[in-house]
């Protein structure tokens, strides 16, 4: 048997389905790979060796019994540590939840199990999904397999790096401002943010509830689509889950893979031009645009005048929601409690617990949100940001009257060196310049590798209308069929 860790999820599922490989063999190969390379990458916060092998044995037993298994049965998956896993540590990259073993599974994890996938473990992330480099993890940064002195993106750097390092063929991320797409771009992998409400937030540790969207990460567009189909769809336990079927993203990815985009109109956002992206990123993007044209797509320029206010609006809305959501970490019901000496008051213990448990970026955002929501500032900051959100949504709606989807670079710059942006938080925020508009609007977006700049991956983003996730898969798969996939140097 050739090395299964180099295979796509589709190929692995085929091996397991035909009996050419057992799920246990496939799982063990990935566990061995993790043992061999993760000391240098730090993609995983927890490897669930026993749980993974037990799940794999179960799949093999069911196949032997003649049971009909789904299209991803026996395929290993890595799960971002933002999703609860029953009995398996869930830290959200934070000291405040160190050692916590949730009493329940998130819906996404339940569906992964139901699909017959094998969870390898939990992946590293910026604390509470706040960051663009995974350097804000309380458990040390993840390193980019393309260059281990560089960041793997964030907040889902662990999931993206696990894919690029061939530690897992599939991974789950969550995207509030770009945390699936930007790590995908800088690691040369595929990451998709579904339509908000298209994937369940039940059991997703909340950061910014009106924006948080779990989604699929993979090394190919088809694999991402298969994972999307497995985890998506209405969940009665999430009150903002959309009661509509998931568009047929798998069929769309297969259609796109034929390399024909004739009749498809793609828009380039005028306001994303100018000095937004670094030259190497712009060059790779322009080359990809030429490729899309060759595939038959019609490219037009569209103006979205309010997109330039997306970043400031996001950094008012997301911190405001976070300051409210993270109030639950009070040292009472779960997680850390510090300073309870029998004399201190609840409020003192709470303040000491949160001081000890949260890292600097989380503290900054809690205070920023508290400021934006305080009386006297509410109208000028949070209220005004919500109005800008309306205008950004109107820009998208107007654009989608003219084009089927919008395209842009995923992120303005390739993977930067570790430590390059941690001292200036606003410089870190700029990584999400092109991904944030879709979060505010709620529509889907995908990052697909489109080329290299000085040997480092560049991603192209496709943004589609709400509930038209299939469109972005078609465009992304077509581009992939033309430019191929990208493999980092051997570790």
């Amino acid at each position: 048997m050739t090395d299964v860790t180099a295979m796509t999820a589709t190929q692995i599922a085929g091996l397991v389905a035909t009996g050419a490989a057992s799920a246990v063999e496939v799982t063990q190969a990935h566990l061995d790979r993790i043992a061999a390379v993760d000391g240098r990458i730090n993609a995983f916060l927890h490897v669930d060796t026993e749980g993974a092998l037990a799940a794999a044995r179960d799949i093999d037993a069911r196949r032997a019994a003649g049971e009909e298994l789904g299209p991803l049965a026996g395929v290993p998956v890595a799960v971002k540590d933002v999703l609860t896993t029953k009995g398996v540590p869930t830290t959200v990259g934070s000291k405040i939840l160190e050692g916590w073993r949730p009493p329940y599974d998130s819906t996404i994890v339940e569906r992964l199990r139901a699909a017959g996938t094998v969870m390898l473990g939990k992946t590293n992330m910026d604390e509470f999904a706040m960051g663009s480099s995974t350097e804000y993890s309380a458990y040390g940064p993840t390193r980019n397999p393309w260059d281990t002195d560089r960041i793997p993106g964030g907040s889902g750097g662990g999931s993206a790096a696990a894919l690029a390092a061939y530690e897992a063929p599939l991974a789950i991320g969550s995207d509030t401002g770009g945390s699936i797409r930007q790590p995908g771009a800088v690691t040369g992998t595929v990451g998709a943010k579904p339509t908000y409400g298209g994937t369940s937030r039940y059991g997703l540790v909340a950061f910014s509830s009106s924006l948080d969207t779990p989604g699929p990460c993979a090394r190919t567009v088809l694999d991402a689509a298969l994972l999307h189909a497995a985890i998506g769809g209405h969940d009665p336990r999430d009150s903002t889950s959309i009661p509509a079927p998931v568009p047929d993203v798998v069929a769309a990815a297969k259609l796109g893979a034929t390399g024909d985009l004739s009749g498809v109109r793609l828009g380039i956002v005028t306001e994303f031009g100018g000095e937004g992206a670094e030259p190497g990123v712009t060059a790779a993007f322009n080359e990809a645009v030429a490729t899309l044209t060759k595939l038959g797509a019609e490219i037009v320029e569209v103006s979205c005048p309010h997109f330039r206010y997306a970043l400031p609006a996001y950094y008012l809305i997301a911190p405001s929601e976070c300051s409210s959501n993270l109030a639950r970490f009070d040292g009472v019901r779960f997680g850390l409690r510090t300073g309870d000496d029998g004399n201190r008051s609840l409020e003192e213990v709470m303040s000491l617990t949160r001081e000890a448990g949260f890292g600097p970026e989380v503290k900054r955002r809690i205070m920023l949100g508290t400021y934006a929501l305080s009386s006297g500032y509410y109208d000028a900051y949070y209220g005004q940001a919500q109005k800008v959100r309306t205008l950004i949504t109107r820009d998208f709606t107007a654009a989608f009257e003219r084009v089927d989807a919008l395209i842009s670079p995923t992120t303005p710059f390739v993977a930067f060196p570790l430590g390059a942006r941690t001292s200036d938080p606003y410089q870190m925020y700029l990584a999400d310049l092109f991904t944030i508009p879709s979060n505010l609007y709620g529509g889907p977006g995908i990052s697909v590798p489109c080329g290299l700049s000085d040997g480092l991956p560049v991603g192209l983003q496709v943004m589609a209308p709400t509930l038209a996730d299939d469109r972005m898969y078609r465009v992304a798969a077509a581009l992939e069929s033309a430019v191929g996939t990208f493999t980092p140097p051997a570790l």
Binding site: G335, Y371, A380, L391
Partner: protein
């Protein structure tokens, strides 16, 4: 002019129940000032008549039938508690001693 003072940041930390150190206050005051000056750009947008968006999905009340469904046992619900007693979360004192006595 600074958008936010060190004293204001100290106040925010108290409201946020964060027992920050003096050193952190110095760092956060400078950083929050830079961030606030940047995000204040939203004020440039003429939006007086624009309705706010709180959520991208049009929200209506989500109801379900009033039927008992499985849920966590008390033991499961308390499994992560820093301190528990008689099926309850145990917390440090809430009232001052002289008030409580």
């Amino acid at each position: 002019m600074a958008a936010i003072s060190r004293e204001e940041v100290a106040h925010l930390a108290r409201l946020s129940r964060l027992a920050v150190t003096e050193e952190e206050l110095d760092t956060f005051a400078g950083q929050l000032d830079v961030i606030l000056q940047s995000v204040a750009q939203v004020g440039e947008v003429a939006a007086a008549d624009i309705p706010p968006t709180s959520h991208s999905v049009p929200l209506t009340n989500v109801l379900r039938a009033d039927v008992v469904t499985p849920c966590l046992t008390p033991e499961e619900a308390l499994s992560g508690a820093p301190d528990a007693e008689e099926q309850r979360f145990r917390v440090p004192r809430i009232l001052d001693e002289d008030v409580a006595s």
